[in-house]
Amino acid sequence: MNRDKPSWYERARKGPFASDPFDERLRQAIKQKTAGKRDSGRRTSVAATWLVGAATVLLAVLIVARLQDAMPFKGPGGSQPIVSPGIGDIGNHVAVLRAEGTSEAGKLQVVAPNGEKQETLGAASCVGQETDFEFQGSYQVVYAKEGENGTVIAELPDLTFIQPSADTVRMTKLSFADADVFLLVPQYADCHGLSFYAYAVDKKNGEAFPLTFRMADGTESETSYYPPGQQPAIRDGQLVLPSSEGPGGETAEGPQDRIFDLNLAEKALVQTPAAKAGDAGGDSGTQALTRSFVFSGQTYTISYPNQDAEYYIYAAETDKGIVWAPAPPLGGVDQDLSIHPTEPYTLYLSEKKGGALTAENAVKLYTLPLKDGKSDVFLSGLYQAGDDIVYSTYSRQPGMNQPEREQLWALGLDAPTQARHLLDFHSSGGFLFEMGIEPQEGDVVTISKAPDGNDGYITDANLFRIKEGTKEKLTSYQEDEKGIRYEKNGKMYTAVSVQ
C-alpha cells in the first residue's frame, strides 16, 4: 500500500511561522520567574527555606499587626492611586493586607509585603465596573495559629485583584468534616469563570496549607474556577464546582458539575469521575466506575476497573438486543503507547431493558483473537448491520505510534461462530477512510482514499451487502452531512456515517 502522504501534509509540518516564535525574550522571562526559587536555595535545603521564610514572615506579621488598626482605604474617583495612610512602610513600599479568612484554629491573611499597584478599573467590562479597584502585586499567604506567630504557606507572585471596594477581601469558608477550606477569589467578576485558590486548615492539628486541584485527566493545578453568579458548595462531604459551558466544562453528556474529594494527606482536592457524584467521599480509587450508553431512550451502564480502561468499552443496539464489549484487562498502562489487552475482547448480547450490562446477565457471543501476529488486537468500533454486527479492529505493537493494520469484520448474531473478514483499511497518516451503515438493509459502504503522490487520492469505494454476503465496487455515490448516498436495485439509500 502506498504510504506517501499528500503534499499538503508535508507543507503543514513547517511553520506556521518562518522564524522561531519561542525566542530568547521568552526564555529569559521564564528564567526570571523561576530564578527566585533557585536563588533562595529552597530546593536544596528545607532548613534554609524556613530560615528565609521565617524572617519574611516575622516582618510580614509585624506589618499585618499594625495594619489591623489601619484606617480603611478610601479611593478617590478617576485613575489616581489609592495609598494607605503610610502604616507598615518598608522602605519606600507600603505593605497591604488584601484578603483574610478566620477559622477556629487560626487566621489566614493574604499580604503584599512590598506594597501594591492600585488604581481604578476605569472602564466597565465583564470583569467589573469602571469604579472598581484593581490591585496588582506579589502576595504572601500567611497563616497564624491562635496565639502564635504567622507562617508563610504560599507565594502568589504577580497577582491581580479586582474588587468593588478597597476593603479587605473576605475569603469564602467551606467547612468539611476534617478541615475548613478557604477560597481566595481575587477577581469577583469575569466573562467566563472565576479562578480561585484553595487553602485548608486542618481541624485536628490546626495546620494550614495550600491545596492542589488534581483533575481526573491526570493534570494538576493550583487553581480552579466556577461560573460567575454561582457558588461552590459542599454536598455529601464533597466540593461541588458548578459546571460551565465550553472547553473544560462540556462533556458528551452536556455540562457537568465537577466534584472533588478533600484529601488532607495529599494536600489536594481530587476530582472524581462524574458518575460518582454524590458519593460521600472516601478513596475514589477503590470504587467502581461506569460508562453510560443511551439506546432508544434507555440508559445502559458498563463498569470498568480504572481510568485507563474507559475508552476501551463498546456497545451497539441491534434488533436482537444490546451487543457490547467490556474493556479487557490491560497491561502496559504506565505508558500510553504500551497499553495493550492482556486478554482478548469478548462480545456479549444482553436484553434491551436498560440498566447495568454484566457478563452474568448476558449471552457470550464471540471472543476476538488476542494477537494478530506479533501485534495486539484492539476493538475500535461496533455497529448493527441488519442481522449482523459489523466491528472494526486495529492491531499494533507496543510503542507503535499508528496501527499496523485496521480491519473490518462481520458477525452473524444468529450463529456467531466465526467472524467474516470484510476489508483491510488505513485511516491515519494522510489516508482517509469513511464508513456508513444502512442498519435495516444490512449494507456497509466504505470509502478509502490513499494519497497518489501527486496531491490527489486513489479512491476505493465498496458496498458490502452483509445479508447477502456480497461485495461490489461503488462507482457512483454522494457524501453529505448524514452519510453516503448510494443506489441499490434502482433505489437510493443512505448509509449513515459511523466514522
Binding site: 469563570g193 460551565s244 473544560g248 505508558q335 491515519s428
Partner: protein, 178 residues
C-alpha cells in the same frame, strides 16, 4: 524523548534541565498555544505559564505519557484557562518584555506574522476541534490514543475529527486551485 525519562523520578527541576526542556519543546508548545488561541501574544503568555508550571510541578509528571504529551496537556488546560477568565491575563507582560529591546522594524514584524506556507491560512480557518486534531496529527504525530487522552474524547471521535479536518482542507485546496 528517552533522555527526559529521568524527569519522572525527580521532585524538582534544575536550571540545566529547564533549559534543555525549553530547547526541546519550546517551539512545539508555543505553536500549540497559537493553534489553540490564534493569538501570538496569548501564545507568548501561555508558553511562559506552561514552562513555569512544569518547573514548579515536575513532581506531578509520572511518566505515564511522554514529556511532550504532558507539556501539551498543560498547554491545553492553560489555554482554556485564559479563554475562561481574565485572571491570568497579564496584559502588560508583552509590552514589558519588548520595552527592553531594540524595536523591530515594521517590515520584520510583518514578515514574522506571515505564515510560512499558505496551507496554514486554510488550517487556521478550520473549526477549533478539527484544527486541533489535525495539528496534533500533522505537527505532533500523536497516536489516536494519545490524542484521545489529551482531548478527553473517545478514539473514534478523534478519527472522525481527523477525517473531517482532512476533507475540509482538501476541499479548500481544491477551491483555491479552481
Amino acid at each position: 524523548m528517552v533522555e527526559h525519562e529521568f524527569l519522572k523520578n525527580v521532585t524538582t527541576m534544575d536550571e540545566a534541565s529547564l533549559q534543555h526542556v525549553m530547547n526541546e519543546f519550546g517551539s512545539d508548545i508555543w505553536n500549540y498555544a497559537y493553534f489553540l488561541t490564534k493569538n501570538r501574544e496569548l501564545a507568548d503568555d501561555i508558553t511562559q505559564d506552561v514552562f513555569i508550571k512544569a518547573y514548579y510541578r515536575i513532581e506531578s509528571f509520572r511518566g505515564q505519557s511522554s514529556l511532550k504529551t504532558w507539556l501539551l496537556t498543560i498547554t491545553r488546560n492553560t489555554a482554556f484557562s485564559y479563554k475562561r477568565s481574565a485572571f491570568f491575563r497579564k496584559v502588560n507582560l508583552f509590552a514589558s518584555i519588548t520595552s527592553a529591546q531594540t524595536g523591530r522594524s515594521a517590515e520584520s514584524e510583518y514578515m514574522e506574522t506571515r505564515y510560512v506556507d499558505d496551507i496554514w491560512d486554510v488550517i487556521m480557518k478550520l473549526p477549533d476541534k478539527y484544527r486541533e486534531a489535525l495539528v496534533l496529527d500533522i505537527r505532533y504525530e500523536l497516536s489516536t490514543e494519545e490524542m484521545a487522552k489529551l482531548l478527553n474524547v473517545a478514539p473514534g471521535t478523534v478519527k472522525s475529527r481527523l477525517h473531517r479536518a482532512r476533507e475540509k482542507v482538501e476541499q479548500s485546496l481544491k477551491e483555491v486551485l479552481s
